[in-house]
Symmetry: C2
């Protein structure tokens, strides 16, 4: 098979030019005599890679200087345990707004460390919407308020930043970071596993307002302490250098393509095209998320007959459209269309969906 259009939810498709560069540099990085994955993280070659990656991410996201940027292992789930450990006192309350599967994960990881208050939940409505801000039951003394900016499985996305007063807003942006301009200063902590919009799996980005690093948090190992990672510039222990390097190549590609403002436009067009096909299918395809909070990144949809799922997947694959099977928690289909999915890929999927409906409708 030549390269397919790959709609995987993460690990997800990467820009072909990035893969080509990584391929070309695989045995000898810039004349160093070795691959970047074979060189010391403390040597000048990797230090350059690491510093450029941070600088480029700061440029892309316009991250203010009073925010620290960390590149860490452990994925978003790991951060979901570290956040209460670092930012909440033992037994302190923290507010969680639950809008899908990953919000549940965040709560599960936090519960051993913090008094979780579910301030609002979309579960009663099957996670098809986001509870109105006016209905959130926030605690006065919460350590922070946690939201999941985009729910990868349920396809629900915050389309604005909720006002939560002086309590720091902590947000899992794993699947929507750098997909459109964001006012970082409205958040206390932004965290994301890299494997959707930022690059390869195996590295996470954590953006922290620096004053929060002064919180005592809870007794914990040094390796679980964000301030210790910052003091060592994310090299408290050996970092995942190849993953960091590949993310850095993705950042350079995004800047060359026009930055997040450009991707915001592409992503709006891509998602509008797919939702248009679904909504215009007369019920052949179905997405039940409230229109105002439909995800621009993950488009889950169902065929009107379950028996059509297998032919849909088989015929899509034959057409060079792969990884469309929905998450096992929901079933159906899901098209994940992060920054690295070209508009041509989404157009090909939209065309296939219309043709499939004609053949099977």
């Amino acid at each position: 098979m030549t390269r397919a259009y790959n709609f995987s939810a993460g690990p997800a498709t990467l820009p072909e030019s990035v893969l080509l560069q990584a391929q070309a540099e695989m045995l000898d990085w810039h004349g160093a005599g070795a691959s970047i994955v074979e060189l010391s993280h403390r040597g000048p070659e990797f230090i350059q890679v690491a510093q450029e990656a941070e600088a480029d991410l700061r440029t892309l996201m316009a991250i203010p200087d009073d925010y620290a940027v960390l590149f860490l292992q452990g994925g978003a789930t790991g951060q979901q345990a570290l956040i209460p450990l670092n930012f909440a006192a033992p037994g302190q309350k923290a507010d969680y707004v639950l809008t899908g599967h990953w919000g549940k994960t965040a709560i599960k990881q936090a519960k051993p460390y913090v008094d979780v208050n579910i301030a609002a939940s979309g579960e009663g409505e099957g996670f098809r919407g986001i509870p109105a801000r006016a209905d959130w039951q926030l605690s006065a003394d919460a350590a922070y308020v946690h939201i999941t900016a985009n729910e990868t499985i349920h396809g629900v996305e915050f389309r604005d930043t909720p006002e939560v007063g002086d309590v720091p807003l902590v947000a899992d942006f794993s699947s929507s970071i750098v997909s459109e301009p964001l006012d970082v200063s409205k958040y206390g902590v932004i965290y994301a596993g890299a494997q959707k919009n930022l690059g390869p799996v195996g590295i996470s980005v954590v953006i922290i307002r620096r004053d929060l690093l002064e919180r005592a948090g809870q007794p914990r190992a040094d390796i679980f302490t964000y301030a210790s990672h910052l003091a060592k510039e994310s090299m408290l222990n050996t970092p995942p250098t190849w993953n960091w390097y590949l993310a850095g190549l993705v950042f350079k590609w995004m800047i060359a393509q026009g930055g997040v403002a450009e991707f915001a436009q592409r992503n709006a067009r891509k998602s509008a095209l797919l939702y248009g096909v679904i909504d215009g299918s007369g019920g052949f395809y179905r997405n039940e998320v409230a229109a105002a909070v439909r995800s621009r990144m993950n488009v889950p949809f169902f065929l009107h007959e379950e028996a059509l799922n297998k032919p849909f997947l088989d015929e899509a694959k034959a057409a060079g459209l792969i990884s469309l099977k929905g998450h096992r928690a929901l079933g159906g289909m899901r098209a994940s269309i992060y920054n690295a999915m070209p508009e041509e890929g989404v157009q090909a999927l939209a065309g296939f969906m219309r043709e499939f409906q004609q053949r099977h409708g």
Copy 2:
């Protein structure tokens, strides 16, 4: 520069054939239409990669069935915090035998969770030896005994497995795993960051005697729980797939080369050659570690004059021998000669060291 002989302590040199394969498969893994780093960890392609990696490692190390094998993020340092969290009751004692820098790290990460008893320490002698087993002050009620099998910085290596009775022996094998045959059944837990003998940085291997997973340990997040990772076959959250894949390629390479018995012979010859040059230099080069516990993996050495360090490193680099600078904690030089360093590389270094001495002696 063409590829140099790279003596980096980790991230370290990888087999050239492994890099060539990864390079060839970078844009399309086995006809899947995507790179392995772009495919879902739950898809059939990566499941195959993951299962083969575990099976191959079990073959290489002859891991008994009553041991679980985990592939995790966080590095060895992360495991050093998870070990007391998973295997010690709050406030329980654990014995640590301190033979160098990484033993100190293990103690530092464990201290918030366990009553650390330093049962023996080589620090008084500058970590140039390993305290005799007869002198260890073990606790009767310890949760485990921790050793560092090979100290990467100090170049000190256990050359046998210490007897510790019924208390589980926990060992950091980051820099010597799969370098020679090992009786896994003598250990409760073996852990290793991959970036020395197993493959790329960003993934760790943890081998656990299954009965230990029944210990309650301490209150902790699910993501910090080994039993939870095992229940999900190391996919409790998205694993670092590319790192796992590359480690798997290294395992296949090791098996094809003859397995750990073959590498044990090569490693013995490689280290004997370098120590021979050092000991035969009449003091021009110096290694002060007790001969019986000199590391076969990391050969730290000093030139008799500090002023020679820079010319040594410059001339070595010009000769295609890189990453020989010693760790900042010790200074001097260090040649790390893991499995993937070919004998030709060590012969080239030995020849260079003799020539350098002739020119500068």
